[in-house]
Each structure stands twice: as C-alpha cells, then as structure tokens.
Subunit: 795 residues, 2 copies
C-alpha cells in the first residue's frame, strides 16, 4: 500500500461537467445571451435563432457588468443546457451492501415488499382523491360566494346606473384572491408556479427538479390553485395541478411518514431510493389525472406517454390501481358532499356531463370537416404557443422579481375581470332562462325578465362550468358574434395567463377555447349546409387543446372518458392527430417550449436521426476525475469540496504504475455515497486497522436519502485527511460501460433505456477515458439545419 | 499475418447453446420427460412438479427406446426450454456498412423514412380492416345459410316427429365445415392453429416463432377461422385471429411486395430488419384488436401490455394511427355492405350494442358484489385453465398426428351440435317473440305460436350474437335453469375446444360464459335482495374472461370501448383486477400456460426476485466459439456446419500470442452475416489481395433477409477454404458487454431493455469468457420453492 497516497492527477467533471468560472464564456456572458434573444427576433423565423457559439459571446464587449445587472436571465435560453439539473439514479448502485441485503431477503420478504408497494399506491390514490375533493369543494364555495356578491351588486346597480362600481368590485375581488395565491407561490415556493406538467415530464424523464417532491410544494400548490381559480383567471382547476403536486409531494411525505412509524419503518425504508420513488410518482401522476377527469385509463396512459421507457407490467397494474382508487375516493366523498351518498357513477372533477349517444353520431361526409377542424386547431395552437413563447421570454427578462410577479398576476386578474365585464356589458345576446337552470349565476343585466345574458354564461363562471354550458346548452343558446368575441378574448387571456407566477394549468382554458370555437364552427356550418346546427354543437371541441398541448393518445382517452361516450372516440383522435401534425410543423408543444426555456437536459425518445456520425469519443466529457480503490481521505475531501467542478459520480480505478496512464475501471461511486462514508468516518489507517469499528449498513445510506449533507458540513481533521478510505465495498462494481467507438444512437439507447446517470467510456484495455452524462446526450438536437449542439452553462 | 490460420480452440455454443447428443441427458431422455408428467399428476398439487433434475433422468432404464417410440413429447414440458426458438435481432448490428449508410443519409432521407413508416402503418390498417370485413361477411352468410337450412329442417320435423334427422343434419353440417378448417390448418400450416395470441406475445417478447410472419399463415388462418366459427364451435370469430395473422402476415407481405415494385424498393428495403418489423407487427396487432372490437385505444394498450419494453412515443402514434385506420376501413365497408353507406358510428366486428347510460349506473353497495363476482370469475378462470392444461398435456401425448387432430375437431363439432340440440330439445323455456326481432333465427320448436325457445337464442347462434342477446334482451328473457345449464355446458365445450387444431380464440367464449353467468347472478340477486333484476342483467359479464385471459388494462379498455359506455369502466376494472389476483393465486393465464407448454424461452419483465445471488459467471454459457478478426474460411465453414452446436452469434477477438488464453473482444458477428459473406465469397488471399472485387453492400445482407440460406447450400472449394476472410467491416464493433461479477437482475435488465440477442461476458481485461443468450436468462424462474432452473433441450 505504498503508492496509495498518490493523487489522481487527471481531474475533470462528473455529473456536472463544465468547470465554472474561467474558460466557459457563457458563465460571464449574460449580455451575450441577452443579445442573442434580440437577434433571434430579428431573424428569419421564430425559431431560426443563430447558433449561439462561443465566438458570439466572446464578442460581447462588457460581459461582467451585464452579468451583474441581470443575473437571472442566463439559464432561460433554449439554446443552452443548464448544469444545475442532476439526473435521478434509476440504476441501482449494486454494491456489496446492496447485494448482501438482497441475498438475505427471502421470497416472502419480496412478497411483502410487493404488497406494501400496492399499499403505498392505494394510499396515494386515496390521498389524491381526498385532496381533489378538498380543492373542488373549496373552489366551488369560494367562487360561488364571489359570484354571488358580484351578482347582487350588479343587479343592484343595473337599474341605478353605477355599474362601474360593480366592475371595480369584481376586479378588486379577483385581484385580492389572485394576489394571495401569487404571494405564496412567488415568495414561498416558486417551483409551484405554472401547470406542473413540465416538471412531472422532466421528473419522469429522469431529471431531478429541485424541491418538486416536497410536502411544502404540495401545500403551496393546493392553496395557489384554489386562489387562482377562485380569482377568476383563465386557468384550469385541476387538470394540471394534480399531475404534479399530489403525486410528488404525497409520495415523498408518505415514505417519510412511513419511516417514522417503527412498524412500517422496515418496509418503507426499502423504498427510499430513486427507482422506487419514480414508480410512485408515476402512480401519483396517473391518480391525479384520474381524479381530475374521472379517467383512470387516461391517467395511466398519461404516465405512459411521459415515462414509458421504464415500463413494466406489474407497475402498470399498480398505477392502474392507484388511478382507480383515486377516482373512487373522489366520487365517494363528492357523493357525500352532494347528499347522494353512495352514488358513484359521477366521474372526476371535470364533468362535461353525459352526451346522449344519438346526438353524437357522425357520418362519412364529416370526416373532412374533422380534418379541417384539426388543422385549424393546430394552427391556433401554434399561434398560442408562439405568443406564449414571446411572453415567457419577456417575463424572463423583465419580470423576475417576486413582487413584480405578484403585481403582474394581480394585473391579469383585474384585466380579466374588466374584459369579462365589458364583454357582458356590451353584449346584447339575450336568451330565455331554461327550465333546467344550467347556469348557476344567470345574469339578467339589460335583458328582459325571464332572460339572461348569454355572454355571462361564458365569462361569469368557472371555466369548467363554461365548458359544460358550451357542450350542452341547447342549440341557439349562443349567437355567433358572442361566440366569436368570446373565443378571441379568451384566447388572448389564456395565453397571457399561462406562465404567470400562480399555480394553474392550460388544459381547461384550451378546452374552453376549443369548445367555443367548435360551437361557432358548427353554427357556421349549419348556415352553409342544409344540416341542422344541433348535432354540430359539441363535436368540434378538442382541436385547440390538442394544438397547444400535443398529447394525442392520453388526451383522446381522457376526453373520451370525461365525456362518457366512446362513439365519439374516432373523430376526437382524428382531430387531435391532425392538430398535432399541423402544430408540430410550426412549433413544439407548449410544455416542451417551457422545458426548453428552462434549459432542462431533457432526453427525447431517440437520438437525433442524423447523429450516427458521432461516437462516444466526441460526446463524452474527459478527462475524468477518478478515485483509487483505496483512496486518501484528503484527496476525496478536496475533490468533493472543489466547487468549480461539482461532480456527482466518480469512476473507481485500479492502481497503475505509470501516473500518466488512466487506470482500469473497477467501479463507480457517487458523491452522495462518499459523503455518507466521510460522515461516518469509515477510514482505515495506513496500518489497515479500521478506525471506526461499526460496519456501515445500507440503512445509513438510506437515512441520508434524499437530502445528503453538503461536503462543507462534514468536518475532517488533519489527521483524518491522512487516513485512507476503502471504497471496494461501497462502489458499484459493475457499472455499464461502452467503448469509444460506440455511435451516439447506441450510447443514447443504452442510457435512455436503463435510465442511467453516469455511463463510463473505456478503451479496449478497459481504461477509463471519459464519462457520458445526461447533459452530454441532451446537447445534441435536430434543428432546422441538421444537427445542432447546445452550450452548457452553470446557473 | 503469420499466425492467422490458427484455429480457435475454445469452442462452445452461440445462440443455441447446448451441444446435442451426448452429455445432455434430456436429449435422449424422452422417457424421463414423459415419466415426469405422470409423476406430476400424482404430486401434491397441480403444478408442484418434482424438479426435473438430471439425476431423475439418468435413473431412467431405457431412454433410447422411449425416445424413438414417442418422439413428439419431449419439447412440450413446462420444465424445459426448447432450443429451437431463436431471438429476434432488435439490436441493430452497427457495423461499418450500416454506419456508412446512416451517415450518408440526409435529414430529408430520414424524413422520407418516417413518412413511409406512416404509409406502411396506414396500409396495415386498411388491409386489416378489409380482411376483418371479409371474414365478417363470409361468416355471417355461411352461418346464416347453415342455420336457415337447419331451422327449416327442424320446423319440418317438429310436427312429424323425426327430430333425430335434424340432429344428424346439424351435426353433419358442423363436422364438415369444421373438418375443412381443421384440414387446412393441420396439414398446411399448423402454426395457424389456436388463437394466435401466444404467438404474438412471444414475437413481441423477442422470440422468433418460425413461419408466423408468412402470407401463407395468414391465408390459412383466415379460412380456418371462417370454418370454425361457421362450424358452430365454441370459439370467437375475430378476437384472437386478428391479433396475429393479419399483423404478421400482412406486414411481411407488405415489405416483400414493396421490394418488388422498383419505385418503393429503396424505401421498403430499409425496413428489412427485425427492429422495423417488430414495430409493424405491433401496429398490426393493435390494428387487429381495433378492428375486432372497435377499440383503437384498447388495441394500442394490448400492444403495449405485451411488448412495452421497446416503446417510444412516435411508435405509439403510428400504432394508434394504424388502429384508427383499421376501425375506419372496417366501418366504412360494413356500412356499404349493410346499405347504410357512410354511417360510421358502428364500431368493430364484435358489437355488443349500445348500453343506455341510465341502465348501468351503480351504487356503493354493489362494490362488494363486484368484488365477489371478480373472485368467483377468477376461480372459474383458474378451473378453466387447469382443465385446459390437462387436456393440452393429453393432446400433446396422444393426439399429435394431423389426421387424429382433424378427427378430434370433427368430434368436437358433432358433440357441440348434439349438446346444443339436446339443450334446446329438453328446454321448456318459452318466451314471447319480441317486436324488435333481436333473434335472427328464433326457433319455435315446441313453444306456442308467437313464442320462441330461449335456449336456442344462446345455442342456435354465433357466439357474438349470443353475447349480444345476453347483454340486451329485456329482463325475464331467460329463466335461471336455462342460464345455469347453458353456462355449465358452454364452459366445458369452450374448454374442450380451445387447443383444437383449428384457428380460433377463447376470448368471445369466455365473454359469453361470463355474460350468461353474470345474468344468472343478477337474477339470483333480484330474488334475494329487494332490487329489481333489470339493472343487474348486463353488469357482471367480464369476470370469467378476465379470469382466463388476464390482461387487465387492455381488456378493460376493450370492453369499455366495445360496450360504448365509460360509466361502467370502474366496475369492470374492479372485477377484472379481482379476477386476476384470485386467478393468479392458483394458476397462470391461459396464454402463459400454452407458452410454457411450448417450452418457449419467454423473458418476463424482471428477473426473479431472489436471483441477486447469481452473477453473469453462473448464468453465461462458456466456453464460447470465437473468431479472429481475420479468420480462415475453412474454420468458419467448419464451425457453421457443425450441426451439434447450432450457434448464431460469434464474438470476434483480437489475436493473442498464447493459444490457451481467450482473446480480447473487438466485435460480434452473426451466423447470417457470415453466410452472406461466404455466399459472396468475400475472401482475401494470403497476399491480402481481394478475390472478389465488388465491395459488399448492406443491400446484399438485406436481400437475404429474413430467410438466410443454410450453410449446406453454399459450396466452398478446397482452395477457397485456405483463403482468409476479413470480418472487420462486417462485425458489430461495439457489442454490449458485461463483466463476470454482474448480478443476474442487472444482466437481465440490460438484455430485456435493449432487446438483445447476444450479450458478451468479459473479464477485467476485456477478454471473452462467456455469452449470455435469451435461454440462459429464461432458464431461471420463481417456483413455489424459490428459484428454479429449467433444463434446456434440443427439439
């Protein structure tokens, strides 16, 4: 053990590769990045941004100043990849401790584990259902109260003539409620902003989004959503919320609570790793969708479409189970709330009401119409996305302070109220009050007695109810100008709203736009063709939503399940598919745009088609920081403490005689594992006697999961620095490796299919020559002009 | 290049590992295998078979004789794995030719490829729809004709008293029709027998089932199904057929036809590999289900549940597209056939009719009932499976000659007719003829005028129509004894029928049993509880089917889509899930049983839970036959011609000085590639001048796909034997490797996730020490007493 103190000399990056500071112009090139935005809009097309090369940035005259003045702009560039995101460890580190534990476990032990997985899924389902129920009831009551107050006020002032006071009241109420929501989001948990679908997509893709899986996020999200929906914003109540917050926060708290009770401790402790957590998050996402739309199958499909690379049949069934339970729980408690205890036929939160089978039959001649609708929907969606993209860029540049964000949210709320009011005020579309009282708050306004203002059904209501009215109100309930104006206004309002610092989604608004527009289309058709308008009223709703969001399969199933009618499945598919194809031609889906703008290293399903020319040699990052099998504590502490290279994984190599030559790979160890080892001082002295006698258990690693302490919090004395650490027992002795000649698609396939975090590149002698991480692969993407390479940047 | 002629001395198996003949007792131990059957039934439980160890077999007194007398028995043992099945090559061999081609291809080229994939999927959809339409129309007419003749005959003899003549006529007609179907299946294409789902499951799992993807199989299957359904057997018309024959045969013929037309040649040629073929087969399977049940989403889910390990989003959409097209085509042509051109609302072949939303609402108190039904269904399913398992074993042992098989099929047809006739004859359950004429052939028999025999609605009809009658006939249409007797009889008939040498599935029969039994259950409930029987009529149908087949998710969606009612989704799920859990406790699903009995090396989703103790070292087969990078032609020919070791993949190694030591891995080459090389005589002389000047193209390999000539057909002269062959350009230079210490679950995960065929095991110096193939992994499975190891056997 003479040479053991030898310092490993070839140092480089681990999971977080680029050394910060010097050498990476982007880090102090905020001005450059900012400039690239402006250039981009003067370019030939929306996304034809000039490639952000190093040269571009070095031209920047005063990078330092601009970096100081606008510190928040840098990461939000779609031509950059942020280094702050880590990968999840979907690949178990099969070290000796792990294998010993697995081997000790009996068949019965595995059965128990399996059963407890089902139990956890059931709990996730129940809690999701309960929370959905809670949100529904609170929103309903809060919005009901608000609309009642405003309605009374309007009625009071309609005759008296002071309707501007009603307007101010309405705008004020909206602003105050939205402000509360925005404040908790902006100041307490910014990650809870937005719809949550981008986050869950990233998580299922394997990216660790900080603070997403927290109980705090869940609480903020729930409150935020209640406020933004009750505040009258053009947002969806549940569509998006549930996917994300519930699943994640719930699962995390479940596992954490589970480890508190001694009885369940043993079982739940086993689940404290990314592999199991991912499965529960999938289940949570499915349960969320299921509760939101009463669509258990749609929920499962959603989980599948986003995270299918790690799929397996048992998991499917568990996810399905969670979905069923959550729908059931929601229905059960809502049936109690509505005093119809036990009547379970009423599906999810968003109930579009039943469609009569006869009314939705369709005929061959309608197929071209569906395709037209789909194409138009795709165009509309693309327009929405482009507008929202510009808006988001604007927000990133100018509205990044929390108080500004809150003010913007309040402004939107007030404008929404004002616009709605103006719409209602100037509308002269009066309709007779029906028998069935479909409208909760029929506004008479200037209409004759026994009539109501039909514009108000659309604006003076929560979006869910508006959708239902648009689907089901009898023919003639709306006249074309009303619908046209409504569609247009709502389109811009929804576009402005998405991306605000409030918790809310875009699903329901897009559906509402689609429904209004579809009805308009139907009426127009009825004017042109000899067919009546009735059967066209509810047929053309989905395109807009498909154009914006682009989830064909799960969206179809969700819509089919939510409308309760299967006959209508085929047209929905057709429309959605056309919308997707047309929309994709112009611009990506809304969620993908937002993921790109966050510079998340998102791995797509396959490597770019034209990337066969690249091999692991070009893709990998090298040189690599390696450790010896028995390494000096001081070296390890130094490497871990080096803030400029925030590595997360280190190949372990066997000693070689020659210092210059890389060592042969014999394992892989993670930063988190090293930190636990340092914390427990698992050192051997030069004489090889153990300093710490207690043998480290897998439990010690699990207890630290998922919040490993930073290296700075661990004190290592000067004496200890001279000790050695034997990594043999703790490293993963069989990491996946590829040779340098492996083509990028092959590396990609391996990486993606197995959900890896680090992939070691070796030469023919099994010597470590590089390391491939998520960012190395996500860098390459197919632009309009062939393969492009994104830049990496420290945030 | 002096040492180049050195013969590689460590010889062993490739894809087909065990050397035949000596050393493997099972190969001449047929008596042993047979004996193990008898032991198995005297054992403690149905599946608690004493482990078939080598010792057991060596005790056998006269293995040779029994092997000769009963040669067909050996492979059909669930404790054996057959060596005759190969893996599909889901992993592209990324050799130099391949990479060059990919690099040459422009971005537009890839776009064209993508578009032509969509075109192929559309064609698959259209053809599937057309064939489904054809089957439907032919069966309807043929069965209609048959029932009309018999009905007239019965009516003639009811008064005259010679009803035995009617019986004979009926039995005779059935037998003749079934005989035709059985003959073409038994003599022309035995693989077309059965439902086809086990085959498609295996194919999607990655097992190459010989002759499954052929046009001939398709034709036989279509004719066979028409005969068996028209012949009155207790089988389903389309449920299963379509999955299989259409997808496979169609795709294959499509690609083959495509390569005939010069225009499309270039495009379709690219698809001549297993990776692309698998995608088209998935699409075909989905399109088949979609057409059969009018359930496009169910079809996609079916494909997913069976083959999800190779999933990706673009593929999902293509599959979805194919499903949509096939439903559409079917509907369109059926609407023309039924003179309602253009009315497309009518879904798939199996139309259960619309359920009125109101009649299928359910309440909390029904949940326990659903669970009960599910549990009973699971039990019933398990019983069905066990009975069928015994029957299959019996068939394997005694009915393996084609003429015997045809006779058995005729017998079953005659018995079915007789039993049906007896049932109708002895039934005194008369019902008044409804207005709506739901019955196509209402038999009056001994009933009063204006009434019909209700037993006849169930037996005197194709199964699809019977299911519809059971679902929809008004309350009181059947009395309990009728239903009870029908359920019982049909249960045994269906059980006897499944596994006959006719093309037919078990899906519809199981649904029919479920429907009859569910209705019985409903009536009984109505007697016990104060609730009316009406709303219970159609609620309890799916459990039996779920108990037998066990595909929870896709089955739910299929049923929901086929019944056209979403409200009812949750109870269906609940029932199916319970049935699955209960059924799984006793015995596997029917398809899994049949796959096991065929000794197919089927890879499950995960490695057995308790297999962490095993490493690649124990699992791999070694020693391995390797080739040098530049190998003597004679050596290659000898190795390939060695019939005892029918290897399919060979690691290519770099030369080493010492003969005893294994070489360093530098590539992997397949038998098929070597055969193409030999055929084109790509030899270099000792002087390294090429004999054959033409550079081999990837096209040459594709042209040979998928029916590579056997090595015997290639003549290599003695001179040529002395030449060398340079494999560098053709081998896959970057095969996936693992080290010897890798645990079995880790090896399994890599193998399964990437769809590998050969996985090379290397030591720390990158020297080849073993090879892992599908059979090495499929050998280990979890029995009742922990991990068991199956034996490998040559067929």
């Amino acid at each position: 053990m003479a040479n053991i103190t030898k310092k490993v000399s070839w140092s480089s990056r681990g999971d977080e590769p680029a050394p910060a500071g010097e050498g990476t112009p982007l880090l102090n090139g905020a001005g450059g990045a900012a400039r690239s935005y402006s250039r981009q809009f003067s370019g030939s097309g929306i996304f034809q941004i000039g490639r952000l090369s190093t040269v571009d940035l070095e031209e920047d005259p005063a990078p330092e100043e601009s970096a100081i003045s606008r510190p928040k702009e840098i990461p939000h560039n779609e031509k950059l990849l942020s280094l702050k995101y880590e990968s999840l460890d979907y690949d178990n580190s099969e070290n000796q401790l792990f294998l010993e534990e697995e081997r000790r476990m009996s068949y019965m032990g595995f059965r128990c584990l399996e059963i407890s997985r089902w139990v956890v899924c059931a709990l996730i389902g129940i809690l999701t259902g309960l929370i959905a129920c809670f949100i529904d009831i609170v929103v309903e009551n809060l919005a009901g109260l608000k609309y009642k107050v405003i309605k009374e006020n309007i009625e009071k002032f309609t005759e008296a003539g002071g309707l501007s006071i009603s307007l101010i009241l309405w705008a004020f109420l909206n602003s105050v409620i939205v402000m509360m929501g925005a404040i908790i989001v902006a100041f307490f948990e910014p990650i809870a902003a937005g719809s949550g679908i981008p986050q869950i997509k990233c998580y299922l893709n394997g990216v660790k989004i900080p603070r997403v899986v927290r109980l705090k996020t869940l609480v903020v999200k729930v409150c935020g959503v209640i406020c933004s929906v009750a505040g009258g914003l053009a947002v969806g109540k549940v569509g998006e919320l549930l996917h994300h917050a519930l699943s994640n926060g719930l699962m995390s708290s479940l596992v954490d609570v589970g480890s508190l009770t001694p009885l369940s401790q043993q079982i739940f402790e086993y689940f404290r790793r990314d592999t199991e957590k991912r499965d529960f998050v999938s289940a949570g996402a499915a349960a969320g969708v299921s509760a939101a739309f009463g669509a258990p199958v749609g929920g499962v499909l959603f989980s599948l479409e986003e995270g299918a690379s790690f799929w397996n049949q048992m998991l499917t069934w568990r996810i399905f189970f969670a979905s069923m339970i959550s729908t059931f729980t929601l229905n059960f408690f809502l049936s109690i709330y509505h005093n119809k205890t036990g009547e379970l036929s009423n599906p999810g939160l968003i109930n579009f009401g039943r469609f009569d089978s006869d009314s939705v039959e369709y005929n061959l001649y309608e197929i071209p119409l569906f395709i037209c609708m789909g194409a138009l929907g795709g165009l509309l969606g693309a327009l929405f996305n482009v507008l929202n993209y510009w808006l988001t860029i604007f927000r990133i540049r100018y509205i990044h302070r929390p108080c500004l964000q809150v003010m913007e949210a309040m402004l939107v709320a007030a404008v929404t109220a004002t616009v709605s009011f103006a719409m209602i005020y100037f509308s002269d579309d009066c309709q007779p009050l029906g028998e069935d009282q479909a409208e909760n708050y029929p506004l008479q306004l200037f209409c004759a007695d026994g009539e109501y203002n039909s514009m108000a059904t659309a604006f003076f209501n929560t979006p869910e109810r508006s959708v239902r009215s648009l689907f089901h109100n009898p023919p003639g309930s709306y006249n074309p100008p009303t619908l046209g104006v409504f569609t247009l206004t709502y389109f811009f309002l929804a576009c402005w709203t998405y991306g605000l610092t409030v918790s809310a989604g875009v699903f329901i608004p897009s559906l509402l736009i689609g429904a209004a527009w579809g009805r308009l289309f139907g009426i127009m058709l009825a004017h042109i063709t000899p067919y009546g308008s009735y059967h066209d009223t509810s047929k053309h709703s989905p395109p807009s939503s498909g154009g914006i969001v682009r989830m064909t399969l799960s969206l179809t199933v969700i819509l089919v399940e939510a409308t309760g009618n299967v006959t209508y499945g085929f047209p929905i598919m057709l429309v959605l598919m056309t919308a997707k194809i047309v929309g994709d031609y112009f611009v990506e889906g809304l969620y993908d745009i937002h993921i790109k703008l966050q510079s998340v290293p998102f791995l797509h399903w396959e490597a770019p088609a034209t990337s066969h020319a690249l091999t692991a040699r070009e893709v990998m990052s090298s040189p690599v920081t390696c450790f010896n099998r028995v390494e000096k504590v001081g070296t390890i502490v130094d490497v871990l403490s080096n803030t400029s290279t925030n590595h997360n994984g280190f190949p372990v190599v066997t000693r070689v005689m020659d210092d210059d030559e890389p060592g042969k790979i014999c394992g892989l160890i993670l930063r988190s594992q090293l930190i636990v080892l340092l914390k427990h001082k698992v050192f051997v002295e030069r004489t090889r006697s153990r300093l710490n006698q207690r043998k480290l258990q897998l439990k010690d690693f699990r207890d630290a999961y998922p919040r490993f302490p930073p290296i700075q919090s661990i004190h290592v004395s000067q004496d200890e620095r001279e000790c050695m650490m034997d990594l043999t027992e703790f490293m993963n002795p069989t990491p996946y490796t590829v040779t340098q000649e492996t083509s990028l698609p092959r590396v990609f396939k391996l990486f993606r299919a197995l959900g890896l975090r680090h992939l070691v590149v070796v030469d023919s002698e099994n010597r470590v020559v590089g390391l491939v991480t998520r960012k190395d692969l996500a860098r390459y993407h197919l632009g309009k002009h062939g393969l492009e390479e994104l830049q990496l940047a420290q945030t």
